[in-house]
Symmetry: C2
Subunit: 236 residues, 2 copies
């Protein structure tokens, strides 16, 4: 008799504050015997740090050495990580892959999902995205009524960013890092600079909110974003 | 000596599944003496129903009779609701306003926020939006890497919807209701119909996922959305 497979969870753990896990993510995190999380090239293991206080000593841990940016050359890293996870699933153990923010919004879980979801029962638990957490931290509504919200990575070219911003009522530009100066120039051209709000590491212990004009382009982390609330800001 | 004010919370309670509250929203919900929630014209009180099992008998409740759609004529309703809340805040009691999904993404909390946040200490707790919950329920990644995601209400004109969809890699069209037929025609014109996924009431007990071609336009609820994953669906 073959053993039934374990279940694969894509577990959204939110933007940084451990209290922003959902009750569901918390329950699953506590119950699974195995967790997996990206251990970036830089040696930072952010996702694990977010839930560190919730982990017991008997948890089996699978650090996944994944490159920070996803490119064709990343495929072998995902193949290896997926196979490590598959060993436990095949043995009947449930595995939760920790995902900062939400598992299906950017991020790296999708590459694990696309390798394993056809082979094993899989469930995705949504998480608070940095966009939502940043608006709450900044204290500014994102979209009213008929507004269109566009979320875009700062890695896009200036031309594409400009085109996309032209038809967005509200916008969030994520993954700023070394792209800040380019984004700044686009926002100034588009007349959006005055409305733009800047935040680093929303809800993390080192969260930082500064007026966007005071941001030093050389010191912007990857985990920074710009929020441009819709033009209806302040509507009553 | 004047009493210190109570704190106003905009409490994101997620899309419907009570387990999708965050640990933080759950803690605040349990601790505040007063809650407020929209009691729609139709008599439905969805937000309260989501957290019903978490409420104790001694909680003071403020149902807010708000019109379903926000228009200029809605202002008196919000004025009245805000003043009812202000009475408790002035008396030193914390008040949590229950917000389906996320408080700052569409929804009605912003109109309370814009009336009270200058007068009372205010904190917004982000919540799982229906967009994130729907992708998880459908089991399909929304955006990879450099994709742009646009979230737009179905209430927009066919022309605007078409223009916005033209520059989105992934899109979510919310608040479908009686606008389904219009959206369907736009998607067909844009060649997006084959990629579009339909879901009603994500994570609620009566969640319903059907192939979009089988949807009966006359029976689409307000709480339905269409998700168009980015063209990189299935990327490895």
């Amino acid at each position: 008799m073959t053993q039934p497979s374990g279940r694969l969870y894509g577990l959204g753990i939110g933007p940084g504050d451990p209290e922003l896990l959902t009750l569901k993510a918390y329950r699953i995190l506590k119950s699974v015997p195995v967790i997996a999380y990206p251990s970036l090239e830089s040696g930072k293991v952010l996702a694990r740090a977010i839930v560190a206080d919730y982990l017991s000593d008997d948890k089996i841990e699978i650090p996944m050495p994944l490159p920070f940016s996803v490119e064709r050359s990343s495929q072998p890293y995902y193949d290896i990580a997926a196979e490590k996870i598959a060993v436990h699933l095949s043995a009947g153990q449930d595995v939760a892959v920790l995902c900062e923010g939400d598992p299906f919004l950017y991020g790296s879980f999708m590459y694990i999902f696309n390798r394993l979801s056809a082979r094993f029962p899989t469930e995705v638990v949504p998480g608070i995205s940095s966009t939502l957490a940043s608006a709450a931290a900044l204290g500014v509504p994102i979209t009213y009524r008929n507004d269109v919200l566009s979320i875009m990575p700062a890695t896009l070219s200036a031309e594409i960013l400009s085109d996309r911003l032209a038809v967005a009522d509200a916008a969030v530009i994520i993954k700023l890092g070394r792209h800040f100066a380019k984004v700044r120039d686009v926002l100034k051209e588009r007349g959006l600079w005055e409305r733009a709000l800047y935040i680093e590491r929303a809800t993390m212990p080192n969260q930082r909110i500064v007026p966007i004009a005071e941001v030093e382009p050389g010191e912007v982390p990857y985990w920074a974003l710009i929020l441009i609330p819709s033009q209806w800001k302040g509507e009553v």
